[in-house]
Symmetry: C2
């Protein structure tokens, strides 16, 4: 008998029929003897409908406090519907809004952060045999104002509740049956991972695998809440995201291949190589609210250096202008850029204990005659920037090189 | 400078455009220097949409607690929209749900009663120059469960807030421009009343004038909250409903003619005239959950009596069966009934100080050859039951007889 927090997103509760299916699923877990807390989002489309209404009365600039009052009704409808559907099936259930639980947040309307969760009511209900249905994405500040956590925040609610209740597992139900070694649309041999660590998941997520909200994974890692990604309406074990507890021989070196095409590259050439030059280059970029991802500075020669970084493609033109100014001020030789790039990364905690992972990556790419433009490494990740047209080829080559194509892996 | 509570129903806030119009109206009052608390219902259609969803997941029997969680979202959306629309117009405003105010109710879900209103927040906001927008129809019980007051309960919220805040007036905005001497569809010469007493309004309302919820009028009378019925989108003074403070010479004897066609009549004939017979007849009717309206017992002759009462037409067949059983037990002669009846009433506090009002009514009906089947009187009302086909004729005759046809009345 376990205590499980289950989170169902907007698509999973998008119609009355789907809410009935979710109720059936929850009922099965109850019948297994598990204690269940369910977190739900608004029915898909509802949040957008409400935001649209709000925009209509307020010239596209809804007052944040009032927007939260409105938008939070979306989940409030779903919790009541799911509780009704459960009770109809003979499963005692009760619904709570964020305020009723009480999920205390700061007062940053539309993007609030959870400060504290009162678990007393929930524990009493669980003890009394009730399934507790909680509205995701919302809370209340110390003055009683309704707040929302920002879009997609229901994952965070699920993880936060699981942490507060010390749940055995937080299950996130989605429209995919787990986390894959890479995008199956690019590599048909991609496989579902049985397990992945929080760190790996963060690297995968930030690199473009949109299965989970980054914030909820960070949160789960911080409080060590085992997270499981599962398909809402298909049976299957999904993917478990946990701490890296068992570094066994069988552990694969690489868990997955992530990639994205959203970046562009900028290089400033022939910069005088003096202390503080990196700040002089990136300071103005950051002042223009442009986020920088990869940064590479080559070894200096004849007292000048080349400095390259990547930004989101949407920020490319702005960044280029800022950089031209900087180049003039610093007396740099030139600014060059390229938007037709892609980033490919291998991710895995296994690389901590295995040497030569990076060179194996470079070898695989070299075999396919793919030129590497930039390299950046972290403890559990190696990223390279390549020409965009080689992206699929590179991902497939790496997937094979790191033996991710093989049929069902065992023992991990 | 007055403190005014304004209530706008579902039709008045049924679209974004109408919410904008309401915001303009409230803004004008603010600019006059009045302090304003606005109570709003759900946008028209929204409550039905939510109830329909609830029925779908629960085989037409939604759990009352969860239904309240759902249905209360309707007003929650409207308060936020109206607050946004006000703020956009430069009018400082803040919205509150029933829970946020805190409108404390009992725990009778779907038909809760208000126990207490915390006016502190509202007073602070008013003092700070804000318009306060409150969700009608909803509250919270002592355990933090969301409750609703039952349909149409927004009027009650308005009156209760006005009472708690000792407001100068509670304005109910509707789709009519006031209370009329009778239904203008029946009597084109019907006139809007400038003023009417709570008692008269109760008699008018319970007899079929559906301008205001009966409960809210009772409530307003109990706490002496001046109520005003006005048209949402037309200018005009509406009708003021107050205590009967000034019994002047000019006061009209009769304020209005009410009528309804929803009743049916049942007579049990030749009942032994012994003590307790009325209870023996009406006890089983009431036990069958049938409400009785008028009751008439004729003077007894040869130790038996005739006993007649009216019930709602929907209950006619049930009542008849119950009465047949009673007749057998009591050894009564027969049970007869008629559904083709109508009730017509004259209502007015003026009759307290004027003799001969009833006979003037009977005279007017006799002149038109309308036979009176039953008579029932109260301090400020005389009701008669007549054959249904004479209804319009009777109402017009009485409207003229009591001089309600005349052009605009003055001095009351």
């Amino acid at each position: 008998m376990a205590l499980i927090v289950q989170k169902f997103g907007g698509t999973s509760v998008g119609t009355v029929e789907r809410i009935q299916q979710v109720a059936e699923k929850v009922k099965k877990f109850r019948e297994n003897g598990d204690d269940i807390v369910v977190v739900v989002s608004a029915m898909s489309g509802e949040t957008n409908r409400l935001i649209d209404l709000a925009r209509q009365v307020s010239d596209d600039q809804p007052v944040p406090r009032e927007l939260d009052v409105m938008v939070s009704t979306g989940e409030q409808v779903t919790i009541a519907l799911l509780a009704m559907a459960l009770i109809k099936r003979g499963v005692p259930a009760v619904s709570y809004t964020g305020n009723q639980v009480r999920i205390l947040t700061d007062s940053a309307h539309n993007k609030a952060r959870i400060l504290q969760i009162d678990d007393q009511k929930l524990r009493n209900d669980l003890k009394a045999g009730r399934v507790v249905v909680v509205a995701g994405f919302q809370g209340v500040d110390e003055h009683g104002n309704i707040t929302t956590l920002g879009r997609g925040g229901s994952d965070t609610t699920g993880v936060a509740l699981a942490a507060a209740l010390k749940a055995d597992e937080c299950q996130i139900y989605t429209d995919v049956d787990g986390v894959y070694t890479t995008d199956p649309r690019v590599v048909p041999q991609a496989q579902r991972l049985e397990k992945i660590t929080f760190e790996e998941m963060l690297e995968m997520a930030s690199l473009g695998s949109k299965v989970l909200q980054i914030r909820s994974v960070e949160f789960a890692g911080k409080y060590n809440v085992p997270l499981r990604v599962l398909h809402s309406f298909q049976e299957g074990p999904g993917t478990l995201i946990t701490l890296d507890e068992e570094e066994t021989m069988e552990q694969p070196i690489i868990s997955g291949i992530a990639f994205n095409r959203d970046e562009a590259k900028l290089t400033i050439r022939g910069v005088p190589d003096i202390p503080g030059v990196a700040f002089k280059i990136l300071g103005p970029i950051s002042a223009a609210n442009i986020e920088v991802d990869m940064i590479v500075q080559n070894v200096s020669h004849d007292n000048t250096t080349d400095f390259t970084f990547t930004v989101h493609r949407n920020d490319y033109q702005n960044a280029q202008q800022v950089l031209e100014n900087t180049a003039r001020e610093l007396g740099a030789r030139e600014v060059v850029g390229d938007i037709k790039i892609a980033k490919v990364s291998i991710v895995g905690v296994g690389m901590r204990s295995h040497a030569g992972v990076a060179s194996r990556m470079f070898e695989a790419l070299a075999k396919e005659n793919i030129n590497i433009q930039m390299i950046s490494t972290s403890e559990i990740k190696v990223s390279v920037v390549i020409e965009e047209k080689y992206l699929e080829l590179a991902v497939r080559a790496l997937h094979t090189a790191f033996e991710l194509d093989a049929p069902a892996r065992q023992g991990d």
